[in-house]
Amino acid sequence: MEQLKEAFEILSKGVILSQNSKKYSEVVNFLAIDENFEKLSSLVSQLGFELIGENGYFYFVKESTMTPTEVQLFVESHKKVIVAIAILKQIIPLLSPNDTIKITDFTAELTKRVDESLEQKLYFLFGELDTKTKIEEFFKLLEKRAILERVNAKDKDSFRVMQSINYYLKIVESVG
């Protein structure tokens, strides 16, 4: 019962829970069991939520009509993450869920590869900031959107790629 509650609370915060997440491994393992998934699903459906579980990640959606402002924010939020993932893919073409990315390696590679298209994307995301701050903000954004997760709290340099990246892949496959 505690895990049901915990799963609900985490998903309620808007986190996309990835199956390869170490941070949320207990909750994810709990939801990976059909019976638990069904239980939470049925519980939240009474509140107008839907628990989605696909391609190695879980998230909540809620039946509600958005105001124009909300729609705008909703779309802009997705655009930002798609552009950020495009940067990641440009810098690390073989990138896959479970891979580990180091900020230092990323920075070195970015410096080597930087071209007009990369600069445009970084400008779109962070405007006129200096490169160092842009990179910091870049990792913050992807961590906040649960695309990257710190390998461990002590290591400030390494991030693991979450399976939630497939959520955005689903979108670009639908419109690309």
Binding site: L4, S12, L43, L47, K79, I82, L94, D105, G176
Partner: protein
């Protein structure tokens, strides 16, 4: 120059050699290194001996995509030549040549395996090349490795033949058999891995192109498709919008959390609460059987001590099964004394002691 002197020379000039290895060429090299052909003069520069670089790369598991795996045709032909010469006169000289060639070929297989493994690792962790080039390189490696299968088969057949010629050959080849077989089988594994890698990389290339295209459309505001898709599928998409100025919350609100809390409590009703007080255990009370009037039997037993309750019950006229049931029931009475013996019915002798 002895080997030890060479090692000392290398050690003494380690900085210069390392620079030559990292930079590819140097404008100056120590004369002793040039004399020992550790460095070779090319035009106005000095480059490290190619054999030295090959040795270092092999030891350090570093390989380049341009590596060429030997097909062992030359060694194989030599092996067949010396085997035939040995068969014509059984001279020890040719025998030793064959044995040496078997060793050489095995070692080449061993180093080749290391090179392939390092190459595939390099491919897998490639950061410098674009995916198109990675796929091209993977296809090239696949082609190179596939060509080795024929060489492997030819050499394996010759090794099998050698075993039947001479006991020494048999001993040598048998000694290497297991390791050799592993190295040969690994080739199939590498080919399988490469095929999988190429498919996956092609898929990644497709995905990356999609991300880059959609990102490009976003930057140039040609993203009607994306906006339409997001807005028309918002019921199925992840809502995570928060903003300090526009607090857009499409995920649970406070009242939702309260409702969930209540719903979770409903789930709780099936939980078995732990007893608050400790349960006092009391010994089971004897129960009366319906089949006989146990009081009558107890009255009979009260009149006299009994050496064997089961025999006593039989003597009283109870049938065997019924006697046994009553016997079992009487076992819980305090007057019962257990012995370590069994009666002729193989039932433990239990006494009744008033």
């Amino acid at each position: 120059m002895t080997h030890q002197e060479l090692v000392e020379l290398l050690y003494k000039n380690k900085q210069q050699i390392h620079q030559g290895y990292v930079q590819g060429s140097l404008e100056y090299a120590d004369k002793a290194l040039v004399d020992a052909t550790v460095f070779v003069e090319v035009g106005q520069n000095y480059v490290l001996n190619k054999n030295y670089i090959t040795f270092v790369n092999s030891v350090l598991d570093r390989v380049d995509y341009s590596i060429v795996f030997g097909d062992y045709q030359k060694e194989h032909q030599e092996l067949i030549k010396y085997k035939n010469k040995y068969l014509s006169g059984y001279e020890t000289f040719y025998k030793n040549k064959v044995l040496q060639l078997v060793d050489d070929i095995y070692l080449k297989f061993f180093y080749r395996d290391k090179e392939i493994a390092a190459l595939l690792k390099k491919l897998e962790s490639e950061m410098e090349l674009e995916l198109d080039l990675i796929i091209e390189e993977a296809n090239n490696i696949l082609e190179k490795i596939s060509e080795l299968i024929e060489a492997n088969t030819n050499i394996t057949n010759t090794f099998i033949e050698l075993k039947s010629i001479d006991e020494t050959f048999k001993e040598k080849v048998t000694m290497l058999d297991e390791g050799f077989l592993v190295l040969v089988e690994k080739i199939s594994t590498y080919i399988e891995w490469l095929n999988g890698f190429i498919i996956q990389t092609k898929n990644k290339r497709r995905q990356n192109k999609l991300f880059l295209k959609v990102a490009h459309d976003i930057l140039y505001e040609h993203n009607d498709n994306l906006e339409f898709f997001l807005t028309s599928n918002q019921e199925r998409l992840h809502h995570t919008i928060t903003s300090s100025r526009n607090r857009v919350v499409t995920y649970p609100k406070e009242e939702d959390l309260t409702q969930v809390g209540a719903a979770l409590k409903e789930f709780n009703f099936i939980r078995v609460e732990k007893p608050k007080a400790k349960v006092k255990l009391t010994p089971p009370q004897p129960q009366k059987l319906d089949i006989v009037n146990i009081d009558t039997i107890l009255e009979l037993l009260a009149k006299q001590n009994c050496e064997d309750i089961f025999l006593f019950l039989l003597q009283e006229g109870f049938e065997y099964n019924k006697a046994f049931l009553i016997y079992l029931q009487l076992l819980s009475f305090e007057e019962v004394v257990f012995t370590n013996q069994f009666n002729k019915h193989n039932i433990r002798i239990v006494q009744w002691n008033n």
